[in-house]
Symmetry: C2
């Protein structure tokens, strides 16, 4: 199995379904007013900008763990999780005051620009954020609509929706802690790992796998295996994300390197470095958290993260969690093709550069 | 039938179900962290602050139009629409920068205060809005969870959810036009009526009625009757709201009189007055739109609204729409008790003072 080819092939199919679903929504909006049509068209562009589509791929493979049935219907249902992702990103970008997403303006930044062009500069921030709040809300409802009308047994759909909504809730709870962590003085590595578990692990891997599996008729014990695989893999995914955010290539990751630090995010990488650095280093990092960095300052922080062993600690955690995930999948009774894919994708995630 | 007694009795039952559902959510949140528990407890307090509970009552009576079945289950399902309402209000308050809701701080204002008390004044606006965005998102998912797990046939539930999500979308589309209308120079009475149709009419009356009816096994033609009844009644409801917002009693409506003008909202009342006033009056209203008003200035605007015939025009529209709604219901084949209630509630809505 060439995992890159499998991923690329599903990604293309998912993008086609997303494209077609959102084109219908643009038409729906056009029946309301040209302005609403433009906004939904912008939401479509935002959603189709790129993205690895790993979440819908996990959704599809959750289903394939149990069933070889309806491939078209499961791809269509899987775009629900990508619409959720799009909604979460739009709202997250407001909260983080980010201006770039996948190399282009975030949604609120786009509508701030539009406001300034069409209505002037007064309260253009407010206008941009308002349009982005509404657009996120719309995308949340689109995602649920896709799932509610999925071509599967109504009992399975109902159960899948309950799981989907549980994921939305967990992400919300995690996000509360995340916003809070930027304000609080004392945050421990345990706190950060809990946020990762609620936010990323639940909606990146465990959630999509389980929702797809439910549509394939999964029982409780199947969902437990997906949890034992999905949670560690999700944590590995998030830590890898933090590493890329500091050591990655801006052009590959689609956002400025160091934006976590500018936002005051206490990632595991930063926390461990703070806990193991000397007084000067600690003072330097504390001063920079929440502020813009020059390239030199960024390099100094990278050096501290390396010197304190924080980078090695994070890489070690990634590897340990990847092993844990693989073991859970190897011991499962799922269908062979899906199992093989889900084991191989662990290394793909650990080695990714974007 | 004593309609006030019926409303009061259902309101108490709805509040009990809401109280109990949200108490469970507070417990769920407590298992995550004390801070998340506090936030969900605040969302519970916000939701239970008051409110007429007309939406869930319409939901229940939509069901009762077709079925006399499961009273407890339909009341439980009906709280979904009140949770949607709570989510929409929290996000609306952010967009409108309102500070009071039902006589107490809006959600973002509450979390701004909490931030200032716990973490200082820096970016306390941002903190408050972030917590309010997340809380709205959580309440949206709570509402859908209630419906997804409602104790009805899975096919009906799936169809009810699709309708519920359609309502969320329509409100979103209406809200886009609403935010836009505060910026645009040229807004016509037609534009305003379209926003009312999308925002209020769809989610205040038509939507709740139809969702409840679907759970009772409604066919397409039943939903059409509910549309013909719900849309005019919803428009009447909104215009009455605008009238109360300018001529009502602050203590009864739970927000400052004139807040629509401060927010620059071009209500029908204001638009008609603008279209029929002399140059001095027009200039005065234009200058005041989007600004705080003294009590004297508010009185001057009221005088213009009366002199131009705008108040009479709005009252006329309320009455005409009420008659239209009643006729649609009288011609229907729904169950007698429900029909009688839905006809009587039209006058209740036209005469309400809060």
């Amino acid at each position: 199995m060439d995992i890159n080819a499998v991923i690329a092939s599903y990604r293309a199919k998912i993008n086609r379904h997303l494209e077609s679903f959102l084109a219908n929504k643009v038409e729906e909006a056009a029946r309301i007013s040209p302005y609403v049509r433009d906004l939904v068209a912008n939401a479509k562009e935002y959603t189709l900008r790129g993205g690895k589509r790993l979440r819908p791929i996990f959704f599809i493979y959750g289903y394939k763990c149990l069933s070889a049935g309806n491939e078209e219907a499961i791809i269509e249902a899987a775009i629900s999780i990508e619409l959720m992702q799009s909604y979460l990103l739009i709202h997250d970008d407001i909260m983080d005051e980010d201006e770039l997403r996948r190399g282009k303006p975030t949604f609120h930044a786009l509508y701030k620009e539009i406001c300034e062009r069409e209505f002037g500069h007064a309260k253009s921030d407010r206008f941009g954020e308002n349009m982005a709040i509404i657009t996120g809300d719309l995308l949340e409802s689109y995602g649920e609509e896709v799932l509610a009308s999925a071509d599967f047994d109504a009992q399975y759909v109902r159960k899948a929706l309950c799981k989907y909504l549980q994921v939305v809730r967990n992400v919300g709870y995690g996000q509360i802690l995340d916003v809070l962590s930027e304000r609080r003085g004392h945050i421990t590595t345990d706190d950060v790992l809990r946020i990762h578990k609620l936010k990323t692990a639940s909606y990146t891997i465990e959630g999509p796998l389980q929702i797809g599996a439910i549509l394939g008729g999964a029982e409780e014990e199947d969902l437990d295996v997906m949890r034992d695989y999905g949670i560690p893999l999700g944590i590995a995914f998030q830590i890898q994300d933090d590493i890329l955010g500091m050591f990655g290539d801006k052009n590959k990751i689609g956002k400025p390197v160091g934006s976590d630090i500018r936002e005051g995010k206490k990632t595991l990488l930063i926390l461990y470095a703070l806990e193991h650095s000397n007084a000067d280093e600690r003072r330097f990092i504390q001063k920079k958290l929440g502020n813009r960095l020059t390239e030199d300052e960024m390099q100094m922080i990278r050096d501290i993260v390396i010197r304190t062993g924080s980078l090695d600690y994070s890489i070690g955690l990634v590897n340990a969690n990847i092993e844990k995930a693989k073991r859970a999948m190897e011991n499962s009774k799922f269908r062979t093709e899906a199992k093989e894919f889900l084991i191989k994708i662990c290394d793909f995630i650990a080695r990714r550069e974007y």
